[in-house]
């Protein structure tokens, strides 16, 4: 019904939206292009700890919306709530204008879900696609047509007679994603779909999803791989400890740190905590030093000055410089900087 026909430009069509835990300004159900609306969502599994803790955001029709976060940050819980597998303990949620607590089945008829975990029937690759097509009520002719197209598109032609459980991790993942495209949908929820894939397979899978997005599909995508979020997503929300720390277009998030550059530094010998402590003090408020063992990432608006301080301090503190690299900010830097604030909400300007 939806994934064919509508053409869109890749990237750049979304306006900025800044959410930092507070309620949306848009009354629920009053936006034409919002396919998911969440207002102050909270969810607890044990009555004490909140896996979601006041999450508010919208997902707009036709965009790829990324949920970025570390393991246990709350991404999968949020996906479960949006796909009606769990009911959020508090707050309001609308998916395709419907309330998941009342209209779960109506929502599920219009969405696709690729779980983080494996899910297969004990049959062949082709059989898995066929059975799924039957479950979604596809007429035989259409089922066969889609199956053949997807087997080709996802590079599964030669594997069609193999049992799905006998495949490698990457092959299984491709079968799971291909299978989901057996039916029409308005939103596709992908919960870390590239886990276990090698670089080539990951790119193939992302390209296949991107191809569907070009035809108008909305995708909600969770990952802790920042490169693929950079490759696929129009907007990303950085989630940590059940809270959304940042939400914006990728370009705006990267511009958050304006003219700042990132210095990657690896040392040997000496006393690393003492060295990085001294460096932090020497660089002052214009830089952020995030250290991890013998390495550190320095975010600074004065890379030349920072390099001079590093070169000056290292012999004085008996430290050997092993690796020094200055580069532009990446999404990873934004991510590390935001979660490095220990849950403090950050909004872009």
């Amino acid at each position: 019904m939806v994934i064919a026909g509508e053409h869109r430009l890749w990237r750049g069509r979304c306006s900025s939206e800044i959410v930092s835990g507070g309620p949306s300004h848009l009354p629920l159900g009053e936006t034409n292009d919002a396919v998911v609306l969440a207002e102050n969502l909270r969810h607890t599994y044990d009555g004490r700890h909140y896996a979601l803790d006041g999450v508010s955001f919208t997902v707009r029709r036709g965009e790829v919306f990324g949920l970025l976060g570390r393991n246990g940050a709350g991404k999968s819980t949020l996906i479960k709530a949006m796909t009606t597998l769990i009911q959020a303990s508090e707050g309001r949620l609308r998916v395709l204008g419907l309330d998941p607590t009342r209209d779960g089945q109506r929502i599920r008829r219009r969405i696709g879900v690729v779980q983080q975990a494996e899910s297969f029937d004990f049959t062949t690759v082709q059989g898995n696609l066929d059975v799924y097509g039957i479950l979604w009520g596809l007429p035989k002719e259409e089922r066969v047509r889609r199956r053949e197209r997807l087997l080709g598109q996802f590079g599964l032609d030669e594997l069609r007679k193999r049992r799905a459980f006998d495949l490698s991790g990457g092959q299984k993942r491709r079968v799971q994603v291909a299978r989901e495209f057996m039916h029409d949908m308005e939103i596709l929820f992908l919960d870390e779909p590239t886990v276990g894939l090698d670089v080539v397979m990951r790119r193939q899978l992302l390209d296949s999803v991107r191809d569907q997005v070009r035809r108008g599909l909305t995708v909600v995508f969770t990952t802790h791989n920042l490169e693929e979020a950079d490759y696929l997503c129009d907007r990303v929300a950085v989630i940590e400890s059940g809270k959304i720390l940042m939400l914006d277009t990728l370009e705006k998030l990267k511009r958050l740190y304006g003219g700042k550059k990132t210095i990657d530094l690896t040392i040997s010998d000496g006393d690393p905590p003492r060295f990085f402590g001294a460096l932090t003090a020497a660089l002052g408020a214009g830089a952020t030093v995030t250290s991890n063992g013998m390495s550190a990432v320095i975010l600074t608006d004065d890379p030349k000055g920072a390099l001079a301080k590093i070169v000056e301090l290292s012999p004085a503190l008996g430290v050997q410089l092993e690796w020094l690299n200055v580069r532009k900010n990446t999404l990873e830097d934004v991510f590390l900087h935001s979660v490095g604030h220990g849950g403090e909400s950050i909004a872009s300007a």
Binding site: Q105, R108, V113, F122, G127, I134
Partner: protein, 251 residues
Amino acid sequence: MPLPNLLRLVYRNIKVNTDPGSLIILIGLPGMYLVFFGYGFSAGGSGTVYLAFLTPGIMSFQSVMAGTVGGSMLWADRRWGMLAQLLSGPFTRLQYLLGILLTSMLFGLGGAAVMLAVAFSLLHSLPTDPVAYGVIFGSIVVGSIFFGSLMLLISALVKSNTAYNSIQILMIFIVNFASTVFYPLSAGLPVVLKALFNANPLTYIADAVRGAYQGHLTALDVYQLLILGAETAIALFLAIRSYMRSDVSYE
């Protein structure tokens, strides 16, 4: 016109559970009981009498096998992620549960029909009274729902694969051999064993099916079927309740 959700789920359940290995366990094993026990003991001097006795017993046993199919389907779907996948699709939890029970019932009826065919090939006779077939059909349907509900209840509550398999094997053994499937209830049994036989729902099913098959259905058989119906309603209620409350979401 697309099939209703329930029938789509039943189709899927049958398609993914009818591999040769499963069929050997489901139908081959009881069939071999019939041939080796039935024919073997009959050859020992009692003519075809024991085979005629065992046939309805083994047909009844199909309701237990059908129940284990249902429990195993839920277990496998949960273990291999298909439960969460199906429930994030267009199906409700209740539809999924009813799909499993209906599939179990079809396996029970199909297995019983195969046993009847095997027995016919050995005995060259079948019941001629349509009422007998009605009673056999009804008994196996209710029995399949009872054992299906019981196994669904267990698979919804038990978290470990090993524990589930152990419970299933133990249950099959006790239910099977503490019933009138293989031998009649003897007056000489110790009181405890006799109570176990009398409380075993498979005894009720076997007695009713045997009564219908051999043309001497008694009031006691009908009374036992009514008790079985009540027990089935309770088991079904408990299975639905525990399943609806259980966590099906993926991690």
